[in-house]
């Protein structure tokens, strides 16, 4: 069966709009069909698992878009520490300002969080792949490999994007301090 990516994209986009309007619990395949101006049969052809698969894929799709935007936003940073600082500042703000995410976190976290936790493995792979080329250009501390450092830094980034804890990630000075110590002190050579 040929899968038309633009149709798939259209369904996901409509699904996201429905989640924004009705939430995860109340969005139906019917709603998404109407919003995408496609038939229910077409939706089931692209998402044979029905509602559950569709919603899972909408969450994965938006998570992917979020980190795509993040990668784009920081790609021009002058050096690696600045790249991480910009990433934390951008992502922290983007999470706070993501209306759909905030609404669903408030009203139906029990539906979203298991999915986000599953997604986090895929997101880690994405961030790691993004970071490796940068780390390969840096001088690392003796014994530290780019792959291993990328995994560590990706985990820390994701942890801080999810929750800032005792830090204020809207403050560039604090973010710089955080990157210098907890993210990179063990990674980059002092020289």
């Amino acid at each position: 069966m040929a899968v038309d990516l633009t149709v798939r994209e259209r369904i996901l986009e409509a699904g996201f709009a429905c989640v924004a309007r009705y939430g995860l619990a109340k969005t139906t395949v019917e709603d998404v069909a109407r919003a995408s101006r496609l038939s229910r049969a077409t939706l089931y052809r692209y998402f044979p698992g029905g509602r559950d698969q569709l919603l899972r894929d909408v969450i994965a799709w938006e998570t992917g878009r979020f980190f795509g935007r993040l990668a784009e936003a920081v790609a021009g940073a002058p050096d690696f520490p600045s790249l991480l600082e910009e990433a934390l500042l951008f992502a922290h703000r983007a999470v706070e300002e993501h209306e759909v995410l905030q609404k669903v976190l408030q009203t139906e976290p029990e539906r979203l969080l298991p999915q986000l936790t599953v997604e986090s493995e895929r997101v880690l792979v994405f961030i790691r792949r993004f970071l490796v080329p940068y780390l390969e250009r840096e001088e690392l501390r003796p014994g530290v490999e780019p792959e291993e450092a990328a995994d560590y830094v990706a985990r820390m980034l994701l942890s801080f994007i999810g929750n800032q804890g005792r830090w204020d990630l809207s403050d560039p000075a604090q973010v710089a301090e955080l990157v210098r110590t907890e993210l990179l002190a063990g990674v980059l050579s002092d020289r």
Binding site: E110, G165, E182, G186
Partner: protein, 198 residues
């Protein structure tokens, strides 16, 4: 509310709690009934209601409190045994990782009923967990790194335990002492302000 803690080990309350934990490990929170717990604990439903007025919710609350107490007293013991900062961090990470991985009831719930536990501890509510762990561990770390640095380090290490527990890595196993030590030596110790050591 009855205080249920390590000092009550062996009491009837503790027997009921242990029975309930075995039930949750087998069937999950949703499907465990007070009848199941009563049968498992060889007592009557009436006894459970007497011990935990409020029924299942009160019992679940007591379980959470007891298990947290158990976790933290085990962690305290590991900290007390440590000779230096590195041992303390490594010991704490290994202990926490094994306690979480080896907790059958918790693992069942994470696998089959994540919607029950994650909203309490993940994402925007992760700071509850981070604050609790950091608050507990900081006084133990303070003699090594100073008070300010201690709560920073404790939160940092708590993040490591959470990430490697919720998204296991291919090449790092924080339940393994050697692997955890490499993680601490490589990424954590260089980021400490050691000048704060008195």
């Amino acid at each position: 509310m009855t205080l249920v803690g390590p000092d009550r080990v062996g009491t009837q309350e503790q027997r009921v709690i242990d029975a309930a934990l075995r039930c949750v490990a087998r069937w999950g929170i949703g499907k465990t009934t007070l009848d199941d717990v009563a049968r498992e604990a060889s007592c009557s439903r009436a006894t459970i209601y007497r011990l935990f007025p409020g029924g299942k919710d009160a019992l679940l609350e007591a379980i959470t409190r007891t298990e947290l107490n158990r976790f933290f007293s085990g962690l305290a013991q590991r900290f007390d045994e440590a000779h230096d900062l590195e041992d303390m961090l490594v010991g704490g990470i290994v202990y926490a990782s094994r306690a979480l991985a080896g907790h059958e009831a918790l693992q069942f719930v994470l696998a089959y009923e994540p919607e029950v536990v994650l909203p309490k501890v993940a994402f925007h509510h992760a700071d509850r967990v981070l604050t609790a762990i950091a608050g507990f561990a900081a006084p133990y770390l303070a003699p090594h790194v100073g008070a300010d640095e201690a709560s920073r380090v404790a939160e940092w290490v708590a993040r490591l335990v959470l990430t490697y527990t919720l998204a296991p890595a291919d090449n790092v196993d924080i339940g393994d002492e050697e692997s955890a030590r490499r993680l601490v030596r490589t990424f954590v110790l260089p980021g400490l302000v050691t000048s704060a050591v008195p």
